[in-house]
Subunit: 260 residues, 2 copies
Amino acid sequence: MKKPLILVTNDDGITAPGLRNLVNFMAEIGDVVVVAPDSPQSGMGHAITIDNTLYVKQMKINSLPNLQQEYSCSGTPADCVKLALQEILDRKPDICVSGINHGSNSSINVIYSGTMSAAIEAGIEGVPAIGFSLCDFSWEANFKAAKKHIITIVSEALTNGIPKGVVLNVNIPKLEEKEIKGVKICRQARANWKEKFDKRTNPMGKDYYWLTGEFELLDKGEDTDEWALSQGYISVVPTQFDLTAHHAIHHINNWNLNEH
Amino acid sequence: MKKPLILVTNDDGITAPGLRNLVNFMAEIGDVVVVAPDSPQSGMGHAITIDNTLYVKQMKINSLPNLQQEYSCSGTPADCVKLALQEILDRKPDICVSGINHGSNSSINVIYSGTMSAAIEAGIEGVPAIGFSLCDFSWEANFKAAKKHIITIVSEALTNGIPKGVVLNVNIPKLEEKEIKGVKICRQARANWKEKFDKRTNPMGKDYYWLTGEFELLDKGEDTDEWALSQGYISVVPTQFDLTAHHAIHHINNWNLNEH
């Protein structure tokens, strides 16, 4: 079998340990090209750069047999994928993997996630895609504990294909290798963030805020990503970018919108 | 009936004509508070500001009887909604309206949209929310043509309630008032952008790119937002932030993920 071409990106930047680990894992199963942001882009959601210039720089960070090329980009994660697919790669990659994110992208965090926005951008452009996140913000987190599972998930995706219009959101609990119980396919848990704004005054006397908050789980289901993670499983949520709430169309069709 | 409290925001900035028109329309049906970005935030997707300070400034732009307060914010559209709900407003608003965006947010554009990210953020926090966009990028666009329809949609949403977990994505065709045929409830059309990167060299000899592209409709359905707009209707897509692709769970459960 021909070796797959694997595009690797992330939102923490090209030198982040999470990405360097993912590059190492992927180089064991395919030819790897990296196009990743030159600086951290966490919380960027699906931002794209439409009113500014984009710079791309070829890099040499690792030396691995299957690591073909690396590029850093001044834009967002979604910009990186767009640039990779249109400008940098000679052919369509067999899969795009994004991460491994330093921190969870389970539940409602998927909405704010730069890691997932890169995967979703690839999905929109017809490339099978997976976002990986480790529920540990530390720069020294143990990314190797889930190595065998990450390789299995990517290999199975390459073998079976990901359904069209679907991108996988994979979250990994903060556990040692032997403590990880396995992989569960889940739905996105209902949750939100209870914001708290930390109000301060700057040296010039002007008030400003820092955005902080607490995660609030609103879902008791045992089929959610939050539940799986709490039980020691890796969660896989198939995620879509057709946002239509089909069940709501009937309800809204009963509104009186066309007679005044 | 008590007058509803209406939170108005957008992504083009607090002085954008689209927002000023929406403020005028909303002041006819409720008490209005504005919290909007101090500068344009188009294409910001669901970005939030987690590694920078946020500034808020009280503004006086219009003088309307029902316009209670206006604030500009240095953050993204999602930041504005978080600040409004947690810091600025004394009570939960009855509805949040975002826009009117200068340009379409139909189809796949919803993913990149700052206008819709503000509405979705309100939805996540349990506030009924609607994003409005006019398919005309011009600063001099005719925002008044759809006035009566916008007021009707907001009034019906206040009367009937928007289903939980659902946010409305409303797009308005670039037409004169008498040419708008009415309102259609739609699904999101399948589409993507065919990117073209315009490569240039800066005065210092360094290459850079501008992201440009062409919209590519991949959907022939007559129940989509793109179809409705092409026929002269205002499109309303009920949009959800539970991204789970439930139909794909069974498929992926057949993968060999737990035996190695």
